[in-house]
Every structure is written in structure tokens, then in C-alpha cells.
């Protein structure tokens, strides 16, 4: 939280409210009036659905979004987070309640006023990019300006500037289908920024991207935000993403906003078990692979013909290690020996002391194996467990202490 945006809305200064969502409901179905009356009478969701066939998409949402913050709406799929986002620019009409942008209730706006608002103040970034395939990248970036009637030369200059802002100036003449997913979403971002809106709605904007690109895009968003502070409402199902970019987070469950707060507040005081379950779900043992936490802290012995066992034992003693990994010259994993077993094999005068000394109970783990699958074996093993890659090369070992430290990081 060392960003400018975060510091400007510190606790001592009263933050400026940009968008205020006030007792908003969204009911899907033909008999929404009846359903709304039943909601007011305090009847349950199931009962309403059984009687009217309507579903409650957003149930009594109230919260404020501050100017210049990244406000993340988070929840599982079907929790109503995308619906809530679309209520803010009225792509979906709210059934009841008020949504004020700069103090003006958008639910009371005429069609014309709404179109003006969308052209001037709000733009949107979509999960699957929604770039128009018949337009070039530049034309896509200029789309909002074109619709708003900005003259061609001016809108092209602005769109090009926006594309350059996301590092895609060189692709202006390309077609969207020539770009990768990450680049497409940069165009989506440029399109949203070209009209210089004060509010940016982002619907799972990075969810379709692979993890590496997703992180890159999050950084890009934070960089753009540091250059030019906008109010960003970001829908995500990914807690990691929410915590990483969100100044504040609203958590939704079954259409209800169950908690609004900074990431720290939510982690420290989860409102209910549902919120708590998100943190449980951020289980690194599912995220990390065995290879991710394997470290080359063990002594490795390269197996060569005629190498004296004594030198190996000496190295283990000097490094204060009970065990050592025996690898071939190609780094291929051969086995694991203990000082004891190796000394014993040497004493017995074996021709091939390493092989006799291999600890039979130790089986290497595949690097690609999720941590959750191998936790048991690491915990039970007397020694650090060796990890090998798909070509059977030794990549490192996982010790009990390394495992505990990794797991510990997730619970604090």
C-alpha cells in the first residue's frame, strides 16, 4: 500500500465519494415487481424463486466507491459480481435503488443522458476483450471517440496515444486476431482509456489471460493508475488478484455484499465463514508445485568410476549433512545415500559402493506434482525428499522446514 493512490485516501482525510451504490436490487425474471414486493416483505430467495420464477441477482447492495481507488468486487461465479458491475453503467437496469455518480442518480437518467455518461465518464474492459474483429487495432481504440462524434484526426491521435500508453503503438494497423491474448486486452484497455473517462469498469479483465501475463497486466494497470488516477471498479474471482491490486475489496455471496474493506481488514476480520473460506482456498499447496519450493541445499555427489568414497564422506561431513544426492554427470538423479549407508558400503568393500548405499525408502518426487499431493510424503520422510524434473534430472530437495515455512506464509 505504498502507492500514491492509497496514501491520498488515508484514514485521516475524508475520502471523496465518486460512486455511491444505495440499496440496489436486481431481480431477473418477468415478474420482478411481485418479486420485489416479496423481497421487501423479507421473504427468502428460494421462496421468491418458487413463487415467481424470479432470481435475485443483487440483493440490497450499499457501498461507496472513493475517487481514485481501485475497488475490487470479488466473489465466486454466480455471486452477482458481474451483474453489480453492469448496474453501475446500466448495461443491466437495476430493479430498485439509487446509484449516484458524482452525486447524480444514474437510475433516473434519460437514455440520452446515459449515453452521454457512457461516452464521457465511464468505459469498460471485458473478460474476452470484445474487440470488434472488422476494425483495426487503432479503430478499435478509437471506437468510443468515434461513437461520441469526435473528428477523425483528433480521435486517431488520442487513440494512438492510448495505444502507445499500453505499449502497442506499433500495432495500430493490425487486426485484433493477429494479437495475443495479453495484447488484445491491452487494446481493450487502450480503448477504455482513449476517451479519458473518470471511471473504469473492468469485468474479469485479466481472467482469460495466463498467470504470467495476468501479473504483467496487473502491474500495467497499477502503473497507468499511478500516472493518471482513475476510479477503477474491478470484478474478479481471484483473491490473489484482488489483494494485489485492490485498495478496497467488496466480497459478494449469493447476490449479497457481505463485506467491504481494505485487503488487510478483510484478512484480519473476515465477516463470515464464506469470506474466511476464500483465504482457506488460497491454499499455496494447490498453487505451488513441488519444483517451486525444492532447494539445492543438499550435497550432490557426481557418480564417476573410480572416485573414492572417502572424498564424498569428507564433503558430507564438512557440510554437516547426513545425506547426499547421487547424480550422473548429466545431472540425472541416481539415488540418495546417507553418510552411514555409504560408509557401510565402503567398509564392506563393495565394487559399486554408491548403489549399495542407496536409501531404498527414498523415492524422488516429480517437480510438476502439486505441493498438496506430496505434503504427506515430505512430512513422513526422515530426510529431505529429492525432486526431479520430467527428464529425471535432480532439481533440489524439499525439507520439512521448507515445507512448513511455505505453508505458514499462507496462514498469516
Amino acid at each position: 500500500m505504498d502507492r500514491e493512490t492509497a496514501s491520498s485516501i488515508g484514514e485521516d482525510t475524508q475520502p471523496e465519494v465518486k460512486i455511491s451504490v444505495d440499496r440496489v436490487f436486481k431481480i431477473f425474471g418477468d415478474r420482478s415487481d411481485t418479486a420485489m414486493r416479496m423481497v421487501r416483505e423479507g421473504r427468502g430467495k428460494e421462496e421468491i424463486h418458487a413463487e415467481t420464477g424470479c432470481t435475485l441477482g443483487v440483493n440490497d447492495a450499499s457501498f461507496d466507491i472513493h475517487a481514485g481507488e481501485i475497488f475490487v468486487i470479488m466473489g465466486l461465479s454466480g455471486s452477482g459480481k458481474s451483474t453489480l458491475l453492469r448496474l453501475i453503467n446500466r448495461l443491466i437496469e437495476p430493479t430498485s435503488g439509487a446509484i449516484r455518480v458524482d452525486g447524480q442518480d444514474i437510475t433516473k437518467m434519460s437514455k440520452r443522458e446515459l449515453i452521454e455518461l457512457r461516452r464521457r465518464d465511464m468505459s469498460m474492459v471485458f473478460q474476452s476483450f470484445a474487440l470488434l474483429p472488422n476494425l483495426t487495432v487503432l479503430e478499435n481504440a478509437a471506437f468510443g471517440l468515434e461513437v461520441a462524434g469526435v473528428p477523425a484526426a483528433e480521435r486517431q491521435a488520442k487513440a494512438l496515444a492510448a495505444l502507445e500508453g499500453v505499449g502497442l503503438g506499433a500495432y495500430a494497423a493490425s487486426r485484433p486476431d493477429q494479437l495475443s491474448g495479453g495484447m488484445k486486452q491491452r487494446v481493450g484497455l487502450a480503448r477504455a482509456l482513449a476517451s479519458e473517462p473518470t471511471v473504469l469498469l473492468m469485468d474479469e479483465a485479466f481472467s482469460a489471460l495466463d498467470p504470467l501475463i495476468r501479473t504483467e497486466m496487473q502491474d500495467e494497470l497499477l502503473r497507468l493508475q499511478s500516472e493518471h488516477s482513475r476510479t477503477i471498479i474491478f470484478v474478479s474471482h481471484d483473491l490473489d488478484e484482488a489483494m494485489r491490486i485492490g485498495d478496497r475489496i467488496a466480497i459478494m455471496q449469493h447476490g449479497n455484499v457481505v463485506q467491504v474493506g481494505t485487503p488487510d481488514e478483510i484478512v484480519m476480520n473476515p465477516a463470515n465463514d464464506y469470506v474466511r473460506s476464500f483465504f482457506r482456498n488460497v491454499d499455496v499447496s494447490n498453487v505451488f508445485k513441488a519444483g517451486d519450493i525444492a532447494r539445492e541445499t543438499q550435497v550432490t555427489l557426481i557418480e564417476r568410476k573410480g572416485v573414492a568414497v572417502a572424498a564424498a564422506l569428507e564433503r558430507m561431513r564438512r557440510h554437516d549433512r547426513e545425506v547426499a544426492i547421487v547424480v550422473g554427470r548429466d545431472k540425472r538423479y541416481h539415488g540418495m545415500v546417507s553418510a552411514e549407508s555409504l560408509a557401510q558400503a565402503a567398509r564392506a568393500g563393495e565394487a559399486d559402493p554408491y548403489h549399495k548405499a542407496f536409501l531404498t525408502e527414498v523415492e524422488p518426487i516429480e517437480a510438476a506434482e502439486p505441493l498438496s499431493n506430496v505434503m504427506g510424503r515430505v512430512a513422513e520422510s526422515r530426510w529431505p525428499v529429492p525432486v526431479v524434473d520430467e527428464r529425471q534430472r535432480y532439481v533440489g530437495s524439499i525439507s520439512k522446514s521448507a515445507l512448513l515455512m511455505t505453508l505458514d506464509r499462507t496462514t498469516t
Binding site: 449515453i115 457512457r118 472488422n134
Partner: protein, 302 residues
Amino acid sequence: MHFDLHIGEGANAVVNYILDHFTPALNFIATVIGFVTDTIKAALTGIPMPVAVIVIVALALWRVSWKFALFSLLALLVIVDMGLWERTMETLSLVLAATVIAIVVGIPLGIAMAKSRIVTVLVRPVLDLMQTMPAFVYLIPAAMFFGLGAVPGTIATVIFAMPPVVRLTNLGIRQVNGEFIEAGLAFGCTARQLLLKVQMPNALPSIMAGINQTIMLSLSMVVIASMIGAGGLGNIVLTGIQRLDVGTGFEGGLAVTVLAVILDRITQSLGQRNTAFSFGRFFGARANRGEVPSSATPPAKT
């Protein structure tokens, strides 16, 4: 018990009523359609044969492939050799006139269907009727309203051939990706901008498929329409039937087939974005050369 609803008599009564009371309207329609048909026919038959052949072959080369261009050239020369060039151009002009009218009426109708459930409910059964009613049945009232000649032939053809372009325009617009619509709305499109900038361009392949189907149906109907004096290759086929002259009938049929294949391939290619050769891309690439590197070279990432 036996009911007789006198449906046939009813149909007669409707036709007679229209004849008695709507003559000015019928005359107006006849004038408009006559103008379209005559203009196109005059244009096509006015072009010297070699020029027309070159244009068609060039279109085939541009839109399809050199192989198809070669086929077109040979097939057109066969038509010339059979002495059916004039007739073929007459038929082509009838097809184009009917297609132009079908597009002018059909695309707005298809758009209206996509936008309104009521229009859909009303129009769909009419389209079904137009497509399934045996084609000959249109000829009777068409001839009664408009006499003999190219105008009733064109009208009967339009009725028979219009449904695909209506249906596929409707379908194409309905199938435009929901996120494109949302994007259009989110950036402040009016209903009209949404239609012109988002829905129509994305429905274009489907609409082009509809136009292609309309052209094919027109071609099959134009032969039948020769029975009320529409002229063209249909007359050759008709003559072959009347005289039981297999040779003449076959020649006429072959010319129709050649026309069908060429029209089909060329119009199909219009619906696809990637073409054998594109002027737009050619000139676009030239205009941008120098300032925009090709998309294959990524810029340095920061």
C-alpha cells in the same frame, strides 16, 4: 359432414379486389421494377461480349483463384459458342434485378425481425409460405397484375428468392456476440450506431450467405418465369421442352448451370474477409509502409 371454405374462390376474390381497387399502386410497382430491370438489362446487354467476359474472369481471379478464373473463361466461351450469350446476359440481368430488389426489401425486413418479436411472429409464416408455395402459383397472379414480360417475372422471382436474405439477416444480427453488443453500449452507442457499427459488420458473413442463396434461388426461378415471358435462358429451355428437343434444352440448361456456378463462387467469396487478393489490404499496406512495422516484429517490451 362436409365443410367447403371456398379457399380457391377466396383467393380469386382477393386477386380481383386488388385488380379493381389498387391499379395505381400496381402501376407504380410495375414502373419501379420495370425501371430497375430495364436499366440493369440495358447495362448488361450493352457491354460488348469480350469486355463482359474479361470482367467476370477478373472478378473470379480477384475473389476466388486463378484456377476458377480459368474455368470461368472456358465456361463462358462455351456459352458464346452455343450462341447463347445474349440470352445469358438477359437472365443475368433478371437475376441481378430480382436480387437488388430482394436485398433492398429483405435486409431491412431482416433487421426489423431481429429487433422486434412482433415483426418476427408476423413475418416468419409469410416467409414459410413464400418458400414452400410451388413457384408456378406465383406466376398466375403476377401475370394478372402486371401482364406478361420481365416485370411479373422479376416480381415472382423476388417473392420466391427473398426469404433467405431476410432469414439470414435476422439470424446474423441475432448471433452477434453478446459481448460486442455490451461493448458497443458501454462506449455509448445509440441504437442506430449499434446497428451500423457493431451488428451489421459482424452479421455480414451471414447476410452475404443469405444474398448468395437469394441469387441461387433467383436463378432457378428465372427459368420458370420465362413461362410468362420473362425471356432469357428460360426461353431456350422452354422451347426445348415444347419441341421435345433434348439438345436445345440441354444447351439452355448448361448455360444456366455455368451462370449458377460462377455467381455462386463469386458471391460466396464476398462474404469472407480473407480473399485471394484484396485491394483494401493492398493499398492499406502501401499507405502504412514505413511507419508501421509488420505485426510479426514485436516492439521492445518495457
